[in-house]
Amino acid sequence: MSRIFGIDLGTTNSLIAAMEDGAPRVIAVGGNQRALLPSVVAIAPDGAITVGEPAIEMEPHLTVERDGRVAAVGFAGGEYGAVIRSVKRYMGLGGDEIAPEDRARYTFADLSGPVVRFQIGKRVFTPSQISAEILRALKDGAERALGAAGKEEKVERVVITVPAYFNDGQRQATKDAGRLAGLEVVRLVNEPTAASLAYGLNKREAGNVAVFDFGGGTFDISILSIKEGIFEVLATNGDTHLGGDDIDRVIVDWLLAELPDALKLDRHVWNSARMAAENAKKRLTDVAETPVVVELPGHSIRKHLTRDALERMAEPFLARTLKRCELAVADAKLTPADIDAVVLVGGSTRMPLVRQRVAAMFHTEPLCSIDPDQIVALGAAVQASVLMGMQGDMLLLDVVPLSLGIETMGGVMERLIHRNTTIPTSVAEGFTTAVDNQTHVDIHVLQGERELAKDCRSLARFKLGPIQPQPAGVPRIEVTFLIDANGILNVNARDERTGREHSVDVKPSYGLTDDEIERMLEEAIDLGEQDLEERLLISYRNDAEQILGALRKQLGEFGALVDDGERARMDEVVERLEAARIGTDRDLIAKLVEELNEVTTPFAERVMDAAIKLALEKKSVEELS
């Protein structure tokens, strides 16, 4: 059996990790030895796909050209190709479920169907297909990195993490993405639960742990009890549409406040403002105020953002996360004082305000020694090794985040499995007929906490039958609703008198049917071999572009740090790489990238030193003034 890898398929970034010598490690899949692969997928009008950093370059945005002119670049959407960011926000949703703020960002095909579909050129893509591209990039990248380290290995079996608060449809869509990427998804693991594994908290005394997971697009809070290697989730709560993206949006609104509405909605303008907002937000983790600049054609927006102002913008979102925390702690039948340790996950927890508030709520300084961007992937790798039987007595007992039930008379939701029930779990319910000779019973399965069926999310509908014609109330059919360890529902029906299994044809209310997945897979297999070659070539080309671009930039700024002999050696390799990059020999490109890396390493180190020195000088000047 091949090794199982851990994947964090994130809203903003995705990572892949595995155990190395008994400890979880992330694998560098991007260029420049980076582990974070931006969850950004660019689809050109001809269908060509690019993932990660190079895809960000293709996002519609405004750029200042050499002559000072501001130009609109990138795929503008629709027939012009598109760049999809935060696809996770759309996973498992029906067209009518897209949040209003997410609607204007992309061009969609028909929003009335059970699955969101992005319209790009003449083709349509489901969120699962887009996510599959990210998974493929992780797979290819990891295989390449392992190969380069002399450890040839295929990535075939994976654990993928999902927000704890993902519903059945969102989980199913994630599993579908894995399948479409040609991966066996051995298990879906909840992100906060995975994060708790990364800290090795099982080596401590028994205790209660809160995991506060505030990412780019989702918020989760999970309360766990850890005892003798058993990680038992007591309660979980969250919001699948609450994250750093929301804070960025408020900053963008503030940045663009004076612009006319038509310009605000322009994808080039909006994205440029979003990039500026995100960067400003990140800077304000370390400094108290920062300038924010958005260059528009013939006009530039120059504003000043202070950390205080940012915190006022973030406050309503933070308040929502803390409310969720209170609910989760109460559901766990604990008080905040019972929590022994708090684990921070997700980039948004870097904000000093978030740390202060979380510390105040739980009366303890949160743990943050593991990079909040990597912790989920690292935990997924630990869970992967648990699944391979390599972690002794360690075991995760997770819960289902939302109640599951069926619609009964009068449109009322009858709860069969309550939220925060440990999974896997099952419940059997007896059904019978209401009128004589009835041959089918319709069953509507729901997920949610509201009283009325119409306020809960429809999971699936199915017909029980055919039933032998009999007087009303005579047939006895036992239906078993089973939630597996992935948090996904399975339904079985049995005739109680004959003991015969009924086939249950479950029609999911949202998401893809098995037939649709099969068709997508077949299409993918047709293109499979060629796809793989092409994908590899594209990814090597991207690597080459990245290293060449970085080198050009460094030579521009720090050219004085290179001596002539060194420069000549670099130029020689650059020239050969430039030529190879246009060709199709990917091994040659890979070899030259490696070679260029080698000749430029001493220079890169000098640049790093110089850059740090410069930054320090600048800082001390700022401090003085």
Binding site: M1, I4, V186, R187, K227, E228, I230, Q383, V386, L387, M388, G389, D393, L395, L396, L397, T421, T422, I423, P424, T425, S426, V427, L482, I483, D484, A485
Partner: protein, 213 residues
């Protein structure tokens, strides 16, 4: 008799094969699933340890690379184990399950007010109605909300007393098992607990609404 999906041995119903230790999807009652005697009093610490010990042996995470029938058995066995543990861990769920094992259950929706609660229920309903009718954000509304909040404390105390009585009765019933009497008394106390539960929920909702208004 049931057959082990791993080694094929036929044996008495158990979640774990006596021969090879693999999981078996045996249809067991909650007590049998956890391998404990059918009693109403349960040591919760020991129950949790037993649950963890069995989880370690049965959980699907232990069989991720096994053949499909074994994985399936592990899934079903763990589901049975989990459900059994949750049922027995909670005294009220345990009591209701005991009734079910004896072919009884609480009346549908439990509409009839238990006689000993009648007066309390009447007063609470009265207060809730007054609160609904009071103009929002008035002194009267705030005064009523404060009264209802106080009433909630009283309801909770009654609930706690009933739960304590339930547990005391478990001990007595285990000592002198008289099926008929037991079922009758168990039903009475569980229906007042269920009724109180609904009432507390209604009060909480009303308080929540008045806060939101």
């Amino acid at each position: 008799m049931i057959e082990c999906p791993s080694c094929g041995r036929r044996q008495a119903s158990l979640l774990i094969c006596a021969d090879c230790g693999s999981p078996i999807a045996a249809p067991l009652d909650c007590f049998a699933a956890l391998g404990i005697p059918r009693k109403l009093t349960i040591d919760l610490g020991a129950l949790e340890r037993r649950y963890h010990e069995l989880s370690r042996k049965l959980h699907p995470d232990r069989f991720a690379s096994s053949a499909a029938p074994v994985r399936d058995a592990s899934l079903h066995a763990t589901a049975t184990l989990t459900r059994s543990y949750r049922t027995l861990r909670d005294p009220v769920a345990r009591g209701l399950y005991w009734l079910e094992l004896n072919g009884e259950k609480l009346a549908e929706n439990n509409k009839r007010v238990p006689p000993e609660l009648a007066e309390l229920v009447f007063e609470v309903q009265e207060q809730l109605a007054e609160m609904r009718d009071a103009p929002a954000d008035s002194d009267a509304a705030r005064g009523l909300a404060a009264q209802v909040a106080q009433r909630r404390g009283q309801l909770q105390a009654t609930m706690d007393a009933s739960l304590a009585e339930l547990e005391r009765n478990f001990v007595t019933w285990d000592r002198r098992p008289d099926e008929k009497m037991l079922t009758f008394e168990l039903k009475a106390i569980l229906s007042s607990i269920a009724y109180l539960g609904t009432l507390i929920r209604d009060v909480d909702r009303a308080l929540e609404n008045s806060k939101a208004a």
